[in-house]
Amino acid sequence: MIAPFRRMLVGLAAGLCPVPSLTAQLATPRSVPATYAITNARLVPVSSPAIEKGTIVVRDGLIAAIGANVAIPGDARVIDGSGLTVYPGLIDAFGALGVPAASGQPAGGGGRGGGAAAAGGPAATSARGANSNYPVGLQPEVSVVELLRADDDAFSGPTSVGITTALSGTGNGIFQGQSAIINLAGTDANAMVVKAPVAQHIGFTPLRTGGYPNSLMGVFAALRQQFLDAQHYRDVKAAYERNPRGMTRPERDPSLEALLPALARTQPVVMIASTQREIERALDLAKEFGLRAIIAGGSEAPAVAARLKAENVPVLLSLNFPRRAASASADADPEPLRVLRERAEAPKVAAKLAQAGVKFAFQSGGLSTWTDVTGNAQKAIENGLAADVALRAFTLQSAEILGVSDRLGSLEVGKIANLAVTRGDLLDRGRVTQLFIDGRPVAVRLPTVGANAGAPGLTGTWTVTVSLDGSDYATTWSLRQEGTRLLGSIQGSLGPIEIQNGSIGADNELRFSATITLKEGTEEATFIGTLDGNAVRGRLAIVGHTPGTFAGTRPQRAGAPGGGPPAGNTPRTPPGAR
């Protein structure tokens, strides 16, 4: 309960003061000598072999020198790096860091700072394109830089594990707009920006307003039509520029205009896709319009590895591995084998992609606990990923995929001085003792408890009764919230169902569709409801049927936020045991 209050205070301060953060007022940043030398440290440049004992010099925000035998400049502030290792700062290759969280946004799925989740309500409302002909959610001109806030509090989590840089998008809508790469420190939002725009982002979750498109089919049709319209807009505009006389002036359209770089392949398009079929659909769309695709998510990317490699499509691989939820109740249905396989597979994905020659970078994927981000990278290493490849996927490879390897991703002279200084191996239980961002030291702070390790949102196993047409259906829901996306499956009396088009919005409103088989036939049910702690309730609509209701609970485990993995694995209770 402290966290939201704190957040409110920070928000208040940001609202009242011309400068965005309280600490910025107290510092006098401009005239402080900014030359540092870390000596006697192990240096891991990533772009070249490690230097067991050397010095790295940082001046005016950039790396000035690095090597075993580097002279220490006279003006440098010297830090004895004995026993420490210096890495390039890690890059979270996709999230919504720096995008203010919604008030009342479910803490789940990462809450503030976590993945796409943080881009909830207010972000969505303020991310309205000016004078757009398209509804919110289909406005590619929206740019995340307009939304960014410097937010030390939100950055304490990622920086505490060595992340200095992130790709941030709005995380909202179908055309999610243009992302930016930001450094996770700075006195104001503009100072944080490393590069913007970086990419156009596409999510495939239907609009939540009930307007077109409100289904996955509609999403694809809307995307297709808008790309076609952009092509047409481009051609008409070109024709008009060639010879305006006698031709009606084409109307300005900022939304179509914003798609032209993507169509011209000067701007990559990040497409959110995890399962094999999601990835294949995204690749098909990219192919249809000649887009430079980047896949974000990628849990089943190995199944599409050959195609990803052939089409030179990199993957921003989510480290938000599925976890076993607390078992719901004695009569909950056993988890599908598919789900067990997913969990077993998750830590192996990176190694498989590496082996298949698919380029990938790591992203936090909306994980709420930042230690799990590096912890899961470590799991990937335990499951066959070479440690140096893992580090690359967090640094230089990430920078390459995002088009900033000329300034970030390795310890090389002239690059931005984003450093993670650790005691021990960064990805193997090492501790980050010190960070440099833009050449300035950043203290490692414990993330505010609650700010990052939020409630699990809808993640977990639910026992839900669905009432429809006078009958009650006992069901078990295994849900996973990733940012604003809602994934999972339903088992029980409505049959085994994978939920589709799931999302959770501001005010904890969830919605998804599911194909269920009733006596009359196979139908699509749209579930809309609210999450309230460990209870969900709401309604479901089926064409041709009177709306039904659903209500359910998720059992809490003492001392842990619901839905977390049980420490000891509790297999399902055999049927009938009470």
């Binding site: 289904s215 089919m217 079929r277 230690t371 064409v543 000891g568």
Partner: protein
């Protein structure tokens, strides 16, 4: 690659699920000879003690005492029945969405975009001898989305499951589901109340059709005009804006896209036939068409097919006059008539639904079988490839342990293009494998969670 995963791989391959580059069970691409079966060709009568040779995915030979080519898999089908793979002209199987119900005309959406080739209900349908299906958009709006004709090659990619050469189609819908749509909408406080979507009456449905095809006709004129100007050699022309909503409707008017129209009441179906005639196109199938028997002559005259339930009725008002004699009445008038499931449950036993037609209306056994095989192939425009056991057609077959019109019949094997996609014996083996895999995965997970002691610790400030 630990042992558990390799086991998982084996099972995955066997099941053709997840992972999905999977080869289907058994048989392989080589020749297969099915020996000594009762062969229900559907179009050419029933052959006792006959052999069917499958080569390169096609039916190569049908007859007595066919010699097995070298290396062919030989299946002894003594006492068993071989029939064409069942075709279901109306399902919503393997769809990650069914309705784009936000608008009254959603001809731009495509079922093909959202198919899930690993859906378990595909396998359950294969176990009922089904090999091809027509996946339709739902019935939320007057003009729905584009359908997908699919072969149930479970676990293969959507691209390979799409029925090659099947003509494209589109779903229309009439009646209660369309007009009542908004009454079924859930309104959320804090969000603007959406206005009731037009139409809420059967009158409005007719106007939605009129309006859409009028617009499509104008669009076509624009396209034609552009093409003419290009042909005349005009320079510096910009092609007209492509309209994904109207393009499919132009194709409908040009006879290139088949209309599958959901309707129950005779009056609404007749209205649709009239509108279609006005715009110069044909309705390929009336879907459900439970009151089709009341306008059998008109349907026959228009040349539409009809795909009905065998005997479902009374579940809503517009289904109250449904009768199980519908199919027989229409068939006697020369209407191509089929049985569909519209259900992942019923699709598993279409053979029994077909058998009911022998009782209700006195269809012959071949006629009854035709309603779930060749007639469906004709409705979907793929009768040259599937729907009967004839030389040259795709080897999409079901091998049954009893006459498929018997309630005591169960499927032994289901073939698509000669590959076995369901095999009851294999299925029994897979059950054990799956149980074993589950146990191993659960065990591995349990031991992993006890290793959690080595989790990375929270970073602490050092001074």
């Amino acid at each position: 690659m630990n042992r558990i995963f390799s086991l998982a791989t084996v099972v995955t391959l066997a099941a053709g699920s997840l992972g999905a580059q999977a080869q289907p069970v058994a048989a392989g691409a080589g020749a297969t000879l099915i020996k000594n079966a009762t062969v229900l060709t559907v179009t050419k009568g029933t052959l006792k003690n006959a052999d069917v040779l499958i080569q390169n995915g096609k039916i190569a030979q049908v007859g007595a005492n066919i010699a097995a080519p070298a290396g062919a898999t030989v299946i002894d089908a003594t006492g068993k029945y071989l029939m064409p793979g069942i075709i279901d002209p109306h399902t919503h199987m393997m769809s990650d969405a069914i309705n784009e119900g936000s608008l009254s005309v959603t001809s731009m959406v495509r079922i093909q975009d959202i198919l899930n080739p690993t859906a378990v209900n595909i396998y359950r349908a294969l176990a009922g001898g089904v090999t091809s299906i027509n996946i339709l958009h739902g019935s939320a709006n007057t003009i729905g989305g584009q359908n997908a004709t699919v072969k149930l090659k479970w676990g293969e990619s959507v691209a390979t499951m799409m029925f090659p050469g099947a003509p494209p189609g589109i779903k229309f819908a009439l009646g209660e589901n369309v007009t009542r749509k908004n009454q079924n909408q859930i309104i959320v406080v804090g969000q603007p109340t959406p206005p009731r979507r037009y139409p809420i009456s059967r009158m409005g449905q007719e106007q939605v059709l009129q309006d859409a095809f009028t617009r499509a006709r104008d669009y076509k004129a624009t396209l034609d005009d552009y093409k003419a100007r290009v042909a005349k050699g005009e320079k510096n022309l910009v092609a007209p804006r492509r309209d994904l909503e109207l393009e499919p409707l132009v194709e409908v008017m040009e006879g290139k896209r088949l209309v599958h129209a959901h309707g129950y009441r005779s009056d609404e179906m007749l209205m649709l036939l009239n509108v279609a005639e006005e715009f110069g196109f044909k309705i390929q199938t009336l879907q459900h068409g439970l009151e089709g028997y009341k306008i059998a002559s008109e349907i026959a005259k228009h040349g539409a097919g009809l795909s009905s339930f065998a005997d479902s009725w009374s579940y809503k008002i517009e289904a109250y006059d449904a009768i199980p004699y519908n199919v027989a009445i229409l068939m006697r008038r020369g209407v191509n008539t089929t049985i569909n499931s519209d259900s992942d449950e019923r699709v598993r036993r279409l053979n029994i639904d077909a058998a009911k037609l022998v009782r209700y209306g006195g269809l012959t056994e071949d006629e009854a079988l035709a309603t779930i095989t060749i007639n469906g192939a004709q409705q979907l425009g793929v009768a040259d490839k599937v729907g009967s056991i004839e030389v040259g057609k795709d080897a999409d077959l079901g091998l049954w342990n009893n006459h498929p019109l018997s309630v005591y019949a169960a499927v032994d094997k289901t073939f698509i293009e000669g590959k076995v996609f369901f095999d009851r014996q294999q299925d029994l083996v897979m059950r054990d494998q799956k149980a074993k895999e589950r146990a191993e995965l659960e065990k591995a997970e349990a031991s992993a969670s006890t290793r959690r002691g080595v989790q990375p610790v929270l970073p602490q400030e050092e001074r």
